[in-house]
Symmetry: C2
Subunit: 310 residues, 2 copies
Amino acid sequence: MSRILTVAAAQLGPIQRDESRASAVRRMIALMRQAKGHGCDLVVFPEAALTAFFPHWWMEDEAEIDAYFESAMPSNETAPLFAEAQRLEIGFHLGYPELAIEGGRKRRFNTAILVDKSGTIVGKYRKIHLPGHAEHRPDAAYQNLEKRYFETGDLGWPVFEAMGARLGMMICNDRRWPESYRVMGLQGVEMIVLGYNTPKHNPWAPDHDRLGEFHNHLVMQAGAYQNASWVIGAAKAGVEAGVDQLGGSCIIAPSGELVAQAVTEGDELVFARCDLDLGKSYSRSVFNFAMHREPQCYGMIVERKGAVIA
Amino acid sequence: MSRILTVAAAQLGPIQRDESRASAVRRMIALMRQAKGHGCDLVVFPEAALTAFFPHWWMEDEAEIDAYFESAMPSNETAPLFAEAQRLEIGFHLGYPELAIEGGRKRRFNTAILVDKSGTIVGKYRKIHLPGHAEHRPDAAYQNLEKRYFETGDLGWPVFEAMGARLGMMICNDRRWPESYRVMGLQGVEMIVLGYNTPKHNPWAPDHDRLGEFHNHLVMQAGAYQNASWVIGAAKAGVEAGVDQLGGSCIIAPSGELVAQAVTEGDELVFARCDLDLGKSYSRSVFNFAMHREPQCYGMIVERKGAVIA
């Protein structure tokens, strides 16, 4: 069995508020065909890839909110993506807002799925690190209402055997937290795929704005290296519903090196032949966890949520 | 009270096997005086700064091993460093191999201390992530016998209020592990100081050699950013007892940016005015732990040492 997985990060330019899911799916199918044309096994689409990123504005009407969520996957509107994947025999990763009825109540998550080359959903993840706030902040240039619209993910960070690899998922803000990578590293993950919608401007910390791209890559490069895993990040880029979003979609090797990156703010495909065994020289030496980790000293990481100043 | 702490990383060139502690201390005093001349409040010396880095070779004779350890701090040979710090009113950080008699038995640790401007030891840390191996590997270009010569540190990662700052310590290989930073981040650390002896060549993973400097900075930059803390790294550099050591001593801001770095492989001082409040825009926004961490999902980090493939 070959240990090469050829993977594309499919960056999406802006999806405006009046753009239909059908249109977004057509754009993704075009990128999927490009990916297939370049011999890719897997194409990674962004977080919440079917619509404009609605947590950037305040809504109160339940029906209006629900309209941005998917209650079935595939749905009528996303079925063409699954059909095309099956036809082309290419896997994909898709982020979407999920509306689930569980235990008799409506639940909303920021979700991603992994679909194999037969068009079958083989993995699901619900975003754990929800950024932003729950309350209305009309004073800011935009809202960051993920804590309002989503529940914290309840599936952990599972790792899936698919397409000959051990694959894991995280979403957007998860990538800034080393814990996200580590939980998958401890399951021997070989490739982590993720999508993100990250504004260039942070209204609550504008001094960070000039560093957006640096921070974006820094955390993924460190997470890759420290866990001997590939990391694939697919962005939504460009000005969408008035919010200028960071691009910088990228493919990062287990060495931490940037192997490929997007250079536009539109729909753009970048890809690489990813040797799934490349991480082994790390996981067998400096990051041989069984040899070198000291979990008896890490207790505070789970015992404490916020910082405590003694 | 000013929130500026002016800090120097005092890189040391090689200390050969026949160089005395007195000589090494003289070199450190010269760097300390330079630091004072540039208005520094604190000077950070490397790991095991008093001798050649002996874990790079095999020893069996207990007395020969013990000769590299300090059983008192200050000792006759290190007292001049403390006296000069007191005279100049400058704090320092010093790494040294520690021989302690505890519970009636001899214990050896890879230790670092923090000394304030009065020459008083105000903090102590014992290295937790010991790299390398315990067994003889005479086939390799050099040995990495920290697991033979040292016990795992038993003091955790305490944070100390000193010189108007909340300071923490780690040592060398600790810096590659995000857990080290996080435990201190969860105590509101404002500056982490560390020393390192890192060979350029890894006999067990030579394909990493070309990336030594990149990895060195990557992990410290990510740790700084993800924990809103300054990170000061002081290296032993140059060819010492046949082992070519990485320099790259550096000062990294809470933004993750490299503020100062050494450019030689000898004794070299780099320094910066460190605004201890610079991290606050991070710890109050994207890395507001109380708002955004999800420790209920991190259990595996403490429950599992090595990776487990399901």
